[in-house]
């Protein structure tokens, strides 16, 4: 029908113009030579003045990586990546580790201002933002600024670049780094272990409820540069933290590799809420350029009654390969995964989660909403498994896919493994199209085709949006509309 057709055509005609964050920052940077070898790994480690154990850790990862091959089981297609044709380290030249916000290059501050990320605490306090959110800003390979550090320190919370934590809290880093995602885990995680540049480190001490939202904002700027961040969050017993990460990148014709690792550790009765709004550059209307987002995220519910919840809104990247997972080790621990994955144009998404039930009476819940438009491919891939000791464990999985137009596709691939008889796993899946009836009904009430589509899509993803912190939910809602329409918002 023409109304739907119009929307579809509109969506199909959408290209990079709709991507608001595609600007480039002109700033001098210091790079390691192109390519990857032991010297580059040593170079990165030396740049960060790392202790010997970490250099050796990186080198071991690099040796391991040489023996591995790139995974090819995902439903995504891309030309072979030449790992020798990438830069593995890039840092804005003027920041040899900023001490205060005044040391940060003004050009960088302007970049984050344009992105709507306030880094000056006084601005935040003056009400630029309604709620206080501490931000760690990572630009290419290094952290350029972390806000509210002092206020957080009063509560005992450590929130700093991981490169700094290596020096200030070596015992914590050494104890937990690689304890959730082992060095040998997978091709991209192993690569990350060898060359990771920076990222955020969070430690919430026993019994502390983190007084504000923590957030990391990732920005890839340099050309031909891989970004390999490493995030490590530890919630000690009886603590709570809510953490948000956001990502954008300039428009470039070539693909850029992003292979991050995020590790979460929740000890007894601790809760970690991790939200992602991922809006990497998705490429243009012909499928040129865009980020390859090959990310390993895993949370370990190590303590009894611990609770980890992942919420993700994925609208960007040319290719997304990402499965934020929970290891439910502690008895009565809980894992959650709420996901909205929007794909348009030539985007390819293969994303989902793994819920590994090891402890008794562990619970997990998966709600995945995939929206495909244009010529995109959107796959949900999930694993729910229960160890023979995980008696009384329960999972509920709901995967809904919404198709817009004729040229996209959606796939649901659930894996379920139960090794004991005392558990309850439920799986529900639906695939639907925005119907002509729904569109016409909304248009008859006065909404344009684009507004009607946005409204229906927002209804479809509502359950997941509700999981996001309020301000981010509003942002995410706008973002979804923009990714689908290019005109709303």
């Amino acid at each position: 029908m023409a109304a739907l057709q119009e929307t579809v055509t509109h969506v199909a005609s959408l290209d990079a113009k709709a991507y608001k964050y595609g600007f480039t920052t002109n700033i001098e940077s210091e790079k390691a030579p192109k390519g990857l070898n032991e010297d580059i790994v040593r170079f990165i480690s030396a740049k960060k003045n790392e202790p010997d154990w970490l250099t050796q850790w990186r080198l071991a990862a690099y040796q391991r990586w040489l023996t591995m091959s790139e995974p090819n089981w995902a439903r995504v297609h891309y030309p072979k990546i030449d790992y020798q044709d990438l830069y593995y380290y890039s840092a804005p030249k003027s920041t040899p580790g900023p001490k205060t916000i005044d040391d940060v290059d003004p050009e960088l501050l302007r970049t984050y201002e344009k992105l709507g990320i306030p880094l000056r605490e006084q601005e935040i306090l003056a009400g630029v933002q309604t709620r206080k959110v501490a931000v760690d800003a990572v630009f290419d390979s290094v952290s350029v600024a972390t806000t509210f550090k002092e206020e957080l320190a009063k509560a005992g919370v450590i929130f700093c670049p991981i490169s700094e934590a290596v020096h200030t809290h070596p015992e914590l880093v050494q104890k937990y780094l690689g304890s959730v995602v082992p060095v040998t885990d997978n091709y991209f995680a192993t690569l990350n272990s060898a060359v990771f540049s920076d990222g955020s480190f969070v430690y919430i001490p026993k019994g502390v409820r983190c007084p504000m939202e923590l957030s990391t904002y990732f920005r890839i700027n340099e050309q031909n540069t891989g970004q390999f961040e490493r995030t490590l969050i530890i919630a000690d017993c009886d603590s709570y933290v809510s953490y948000l990460e956001g990502c954008t990148a300039p428009k470039r014709d070539e693909n850029q590799l992003h292979a991050a690792v995020v590790e979460l550790v929740a000890l007894d009765n601790a809760q970690i809420k991790y939200s992602t709004v991922q809006n990497w550059y998705p490429g243009d209307s012909d499928g040129r350029g865009g980020i390859y987002n090959f990310v390993t995220k895993r949370g370990d519910c190590r303590g009894d009654n611990s609770h980890i919840s992942w919420t993700q809104v994925e609208t960007g990247s040319a290719i997304t390969w990402k499965y934020p997972s929970c290891i439910l080790r502690g008895n009565n621990s809980q894992g959650e995964f709420y996901s909205i994955a929007v794909s348009n144009g030539h985007q390819q998404v293969d994303s989902g989660t793994k819920m590994i039930h090891l402890g008794k009476n562990t619970k997990s819940r998966i709600v995945s909403k995939g929206i495909s438009a244009g010529k995109s491919q959107n796959t949900y891939r999930g694993l729910v498994s229960a160890h023979r000791k995980a008696v009384g464990s329960r999972n509920f999985t709901q995967c809904d896919s919404l198709l817009i137009g004729q040229s996209c596709s959606a796939h649901t691939i659930p894996y379920i493994e139960a090794k004991n008889n005392h558990l309850q796993f439920e799986h529900e899946a639906t695939t639907s199209k925005i119907s002509d009836e729904q569109l016409f009904y909304a248009m008859q009430r006065g909404l344009s085709a684009e507004d009607a589509t946005a409204l229906i899509v927002n209804g479809f993803v509502r359950e997941v949006l509700q999981q996001l912190p309020m301000e981010f939910a509003v942002e995410a809602q706008k973002l979804i509309s923009i990714s689908l329409e290019g005109s709303v918002g």
Binding site: M1, A2, A3, L4, S435, D436, E437, Q438, F440, Y441, A442, M443, Q444, R445, G446, L447, S448, A449, D451, A452, L455, I456, N458, G459, F460, V461, R462, E463
Partner: protein, 250 residues
């Protein structure tokens, strides 16, 4: 106010409206009655601008504006409202959210300011009370899991809030019990005023006991066969439509 002139409409190769002509004056309630399959719903969809119909001839004017030139949402902004025979469910979108989106979309299309939230809440409260719609129902997703009666009341609520110039009620009485029929009819009657026109499409006389029409038109074989006053509906109730469908299979 509404003027449909010599309208010919096809779906695929099949012509459904064959020279349909009708005038509805401001303040008039016109009833269109006729057997199944004579194009009554097609007429309402074509006025509202649904896709999938080929208009081969004719025009539809609302206060002089040719509706056929406008997209459905612009027709709505110009004052066309269709109460659906089968209201559509929109999962995840609360009634309140939908009502506000619709009101503001129309206001924007007309170049008016958006309604502020307290004013909006007040209007919704007033109108929903009249229609016996609870606050709880307004928080639920639009039409999802609503009973037949609830869906029809929600249609009338939207009509009351959007204040259309021309309201088309397509088989609004279908699926309603007698109490719901009364509530819905009262809702419609309270909206009658000298500036508004109504087009009421129905099979049965029953609805017209509650909403008294000014004119009644018998539709068969894609056009109006006979027009008259309210008494025509009573005559149809007695004799059926056989006099109007004799020379062609319905």
């Amino acid at each position: 106010m509404l003027e449909v002139n010599d309208l010919h409409v096809s779906v695929g190769d099949r012509e459904i409206l064959k020279g349909f002509t009708l005038k509805v004056a401001a303040g008039e309630v016109a009833a269109i009655m006729g057997p199944n399959g004579t194009g009554k719903s097609t007429l309402s969809y074509v006025i509202a601008g649904r896709e999938g119909y080929t208009i081969t001839r004719g025009e539809i004017l609302l206060n002089g504006v040719n509706l056929l030139d406008l997209a459905p949402h612009m027709r709505a902004a110009n004052g066309v409202f269709l109460a659906f025979q089968y209201p559509v469910e929109i999962p995840g979108v609360a009634c309140m959210q939908f009502l506000k989106a619709a009101m503001n979309a129309q206001r924007r299309s007309r170049g008016d300011e958006e309604i502020n939230t307290p004013e909006f809440m007040k209007r919704v409260r007033e109108e929903s009370e009249k229609l016996k719609i609870s606050q709880e129902m307004l928080r639920r997703p639009l039409n999802s899991g609503f009973s037949g009666g609830e869906k029809k009341r929600m249609e009338i609520l939207q009509m009351a809030l959007l204040q259309p110039k021309l309201s088309i009620l397509d088989e609004t009485d279908s699926g309603l019990d007698i109490d719901a029929l009364k509530t819905v009819s009262e809702g419609v009657n309270s909206l009658r005023n000298p500036a508004r026109g109504f087009l009421i499409i129905t099979h049965y006389q029953r609805l017209l006991d509650y909403i008294k029409p000014d004119t009644v038109h018998v539709m068969a074989q894609g056009r109006i066969q006979k027009s008259g006053g309210a008494e025509l509906a009573l005559e149809l109730e007695k004799h059926g439509y056989q006099n109007y469908v004799s020379n062609e299979a319905a």
